[in-house]
Amino acid sequence: MRSAIVTHPLDPAALTAEVANVANGATVVFVGTVRDMNDGRAVTGMEYTAYLPMAERELRRIVEEAAARFGTNDVVVEHRIGELGLGEASVVIAVAHPHRANAYDASRYVIEALKARVPIWKREWYADGERAWVDPTRAAREALAEEPS
């Protein structure tokens, strides 16, 4: 088990090697990358910031939860912060388990919990020069505000 928040480019192959173990029949590697479009706007890059001590702590907890819940200690995750270009990896999760179902489920658990709980923020840079913080809750809040009361 290992988790880290780093500023250098991520290496999925290194994380894959880290969870390699002959007892495991399945390895799932998730790579999250910066894409060129969000909500119909052309994106040219991304900037990630974190509340570092808390983000490290939450990420470590998530890995421990996934390990306990899905029965494997072969779980590693790295999240990169700083300025990232299109196509660069912002997060890599590698999970290995004797069987594929648990490997997939643990991988999914880590990314969903990370997105919900780890204090990391990202600012998108748009082609028109504007920059804006991404707010995953905005769509839901706007939908609620539009509901007739």
């Binding site: 999240h79 204090p119 707010d135 995953p136």
Partner: protein
């Protein structure tokens, strides 16, 4: 007592700073601290019940603060 409020991302932009030292009466809660932050220039950008953490752990807004606490006001997270 004095506590340190930390601001991040859109909240830091709105208030123009990433940390604020707050002097509060004994027994003050997270809500009291948030009210003080809202009185600062740009403070109206803080939502009615933002996510908060005290000393690195998520906390409810009715919790009493202690001297020296680090109170983080956490905008919607967007990792991944």
């Amino acid at each position: 007592m004095t506590v340190t409020a930390l601001l991040f991302a859109s909240y830091a932009d709105a208030l123009g700073r990433s940390s604020v030292s707050l002097t509060l009466p004994p027994g003050a809660t997270v809500s009291d601290a948030l009210d003080r932050l809202r009185e600062l220039p740009g403070g109206s950008a803080l939502p009615p019940s933002p996510l908060v953490a005290i000393n690195l752990a998520f906390a409810r807004t009715n919790v009493e603060l202690s001297p020296g606490d680090e109170l983080a006001v956490i905008p919607p997270v967007a990792g991944g």
